[in-house]
């Protein structure tokens, strides 16, 4: 039977048949085709590229975009459920899909020209083109608006200069959405540019030595007098609003994804605790262990409810970015806590990759940091409810 994750509040009943079908497709795919690969991919520090055609075939890229671009036109709840199932597999595959869908296809769809859309979206949906999103720089992470990467007009186009760091899929991307500052008419604004991989002056270098998100490629991008034609600018961009709206898409998916990683840890810890005998009893029979398991399932249930409500708000076009921040902040930090508790319950087995827990736990350290750190989201919500910005500067 298809794996049944914790559903303590029968939240399944609140989903439509289609939403359940979408989730089950993602769940089956992860179980049958991805789980067998992930441990080795994580050990090797590589992304299993052979699954890209299958991800595409099943419709996981840009799934909320319209059918005319070869996409599935799903609602946000179904999109969230996909992220949940992917991240139950590993944060790496969810990151791959989040970047492709939320950080590249979404801005091309929202801020691109019709030529951009018809050129890139069907290809990206088919997995024939991979994208990456270059916002973060070595010296600007939580405060991307300070970025140093620049664009200036030259020869009917733009010349880009700068360095982007921590860019998921950088090395395997056919196209990068690069955010850069354009100084024009005494004004300075952030614009999005499409940079194809073979542009002169553009290069990517894979970052080595990660202990987290190992089954995902992370790169540095170098833009060294890189010329791109005028039409490569995303015409709808021109302020920080555009990249932030992309982040909202991805953060929404991450909030759901965290439930998947947390459930994988909880399930593993629960079944382990019922079978592991110590002091002549299953360790699940000890109060201190039960306390941990109960905390885990309670936090998973709360996270599920947050996400479902958030998704319904998003589908009703009623969602505010601050609400997405709350779900991202809460769900990822709780998932991290759950992963650590699960790691503890497995004792020594908790640190070996025969079980999925240590991998999820290490991954979640990244997930807690990227797309706005836990504290950055706290400050976003803090500003929203008090009216005071505590970001400094």
């Amino acid at each position: 039977m298809l794996y049944e994750p914790p559903d303590y509040y029968a939240i399944d009943e609140l989903l439509s048949d289609e939403e359940r079908m979408v989730r089950d497709t993602a769940r089956r795919f992860i179980e049958d085709e991805y789980q067998p690969l992930v441990t080795k991919a994580f050990r090797d520090g590589s992304f299993p590229m052979q699954i890209v055609p299958r991800l595409a075939e099943l419709g996981f890229f840009g799934p909320t975009l319209p059918e005319r671009y070869g996409c599935a036109d799903l609602n946000s709840v179904a999109y969230g459920l996909i992220n949940q199932e992917l991240e139950r597999g590993d944060s790496g595959i969810r990151s791959f899909a989040s970047v492709q869908s939320g950080l590249v296809m979404y801005p091309i769809f929202t801020y691109g020209s019709e030529e951009h859309r018809t050129h890139w979206l069907p290809r990206m949906a088919r997995g024939e083109a991979i994208g990456c999103f270059g916002l973060t720089e070595p010296d600007f992470g939580s405060n991307p608006s300070g970025m140093l990467t620049t664009a200036r007009r030259a020869d009917g186009g733009f010349i880009l200069n700068g360095v982007k760091r921590w860019i998921t899929n950088g090395n395997i991307a056919d196209v990068a959405v690069v955010w850069a500052r354009l100084e024009e008419d005494g004004q300075s604004a952030i614009h999005g540019f499409l940079v194809e991989r073979d542009r002169q002056g553009y290069s990517a270098r894979e970052m080595e030595g990660k202990f987290s998100l190992r089954a995902s490629i992370t790169s540095e991008l170098f833009l060294d007098d890189c010329w791109i034609p005028e039409e490569n600018r995303l015409p709808g961009t021109g302020s920080m609003k555009a990249p932030l709206s992309c982040l909202s898409q991805a953060r929404y998916g991450i909030a759901w994804g965290a439930i998947g990683a947390a459930s994988a840890c909880y399930d593993c810890a629960l079944s382990y605790a019922r079978e592991r005998i110590m002091f002549d009893k299953p360790i699940a029979a000890f109060q201190l262990v039960q306390r941990k398991l109960v905390t885990m399932v309670t936090e998973i249930t709360k996270a599920q409810l947050l996400c479902l409500r958030l998704g319904r708000l998003k589908d009703a076009q009623h969602v505010r970015p601050e609400q997405i921040s709350m779900a991202k902040m809460n769900n990822v930090s709780q998932a991290l806590k759950i992963a650590r508790l699960a790691r503890d319950i497995l004792g020594a087995n908790g640190i070996i990759d025969e079980y999925p827990i240590i991998r999820h736990m290490l991954n979640l350290e990244t997930v807690n940091t990227y797309e706005g750190t836990e504290d950055v989201h706290r400050l976003i919500i803090g500003k929203d409810i008090t009216g005071f910005s505590a970001f400094g500067g």
Binding site: M1, D17, E18, V22, E57, L58, P63
Partner: protein
């Protein structure tokens, strides 16, 4: 070519089934329902034929409660073209075969593919009865199906005791699918969304004018006896002794 495929809503094979205290049936609350796995194989086979033979149409049929829509949608999401749901209470195999025979009169398919049996009642009867009612050839327990180039005949490989048997017969005909026929695909996300717009026609069984009076009545259902816990014995001697005195097998 037009292919009719049956799709029955059944409890998930791994759901734990409880019999109602009065023995009239099973408890259906909290059961996960799925497409009968053999029917799913049938849908897959029909879709593979459709992919090979241009202009083919795959029509799904289910007979049962309104909720069986869910299983038909699953088949539509896999890629079938349209679906018919005949609304009826539990029918016996002959009733089901008669309803299907009537639909065949209206739909005139070139081929009918069904699961070899439904995993709920395991009757393994409808395919055979339907072929008989229609006077069509049948190939049951198919582990491989090959159509002639003109699609006028089929050759069906069956797994029989100790080997394989291959039958050939002219179409139209009835084929029932066995486990190893294929590995069914799962619905893609665009497939799921497209399924929403595909036709799913509901027909009350009374409108078909078919005699579905049950010939078979279920008198009682019982769960299998629960197994007693095993015993760990200390020595071979004790084992032999117990096999003799208690289990009475030696």
């Amino acid at each position: 070519m037009k292919i009719l495929v049956t799709v029955k809503r059944v409890p998930d094979p791994e759901t734990s089934i409880k019999v109602k205290p009065d023995g009239t049936g099973i408890v259906t609350d909290n059961i996960k329902w799925v497409v009968n796995p053999f029917d799913e194989i049938g849908v897959e086979e029909a879709l593979r034929i459709k992919e090979k033979v241009a202009g083919s149409e795959v029509v799904l049929v289910s007979i049962g409660d309104k909720v069986a829509q869910e299983q038909l949608r699953t088949g539509l999401a896999m890629g079938a073209d349209r679906a018919i749901l005949v609304l009826a209470d539990d029918l016996d195999p002959l009733g089901v075969a008669r309803v299907l025979a009537k639909l065949v009169d209206d739909e005139k398919p070139d081929l009918i593919i069904m699961g070899k049996q439904a995993i709920d009642d395991d009757s393994n009867a409808v395919g055979q009865m339907l072929a008989e009612l229609l006077g069509w050839p049948q190939g049951t327990f198919a582990s491989q199906i090959e159509l002639s180039d003109d699609q006028k005949s089929a050759s069906v490989t069956r797994e029989v005791d100790g080997g394989l048997e291959t039958l050939s017969f002219p179409l139209p005909g009835v084929i029932t699918a066995d486990l190893r026929l294929n590995e069914p695909r799962y619905a893609s996300l665009p497939g799921i969304m497209k399924a929403r717009k595909k036709e799913l026609k509901e027909i009350p069984v009374a409108d078909l004018g078919v005699d579905v009076t049950p010939r078979v009545t279920i008198t009682k259902m019982e769960p299998p006896p629960s197994r007693e816990a095993g015993k760990i014995v200390a020595s071979v001697e004790e084992l032999v002794n117990l096999l003799h005195t208690e289990a009475k097998v030696i």
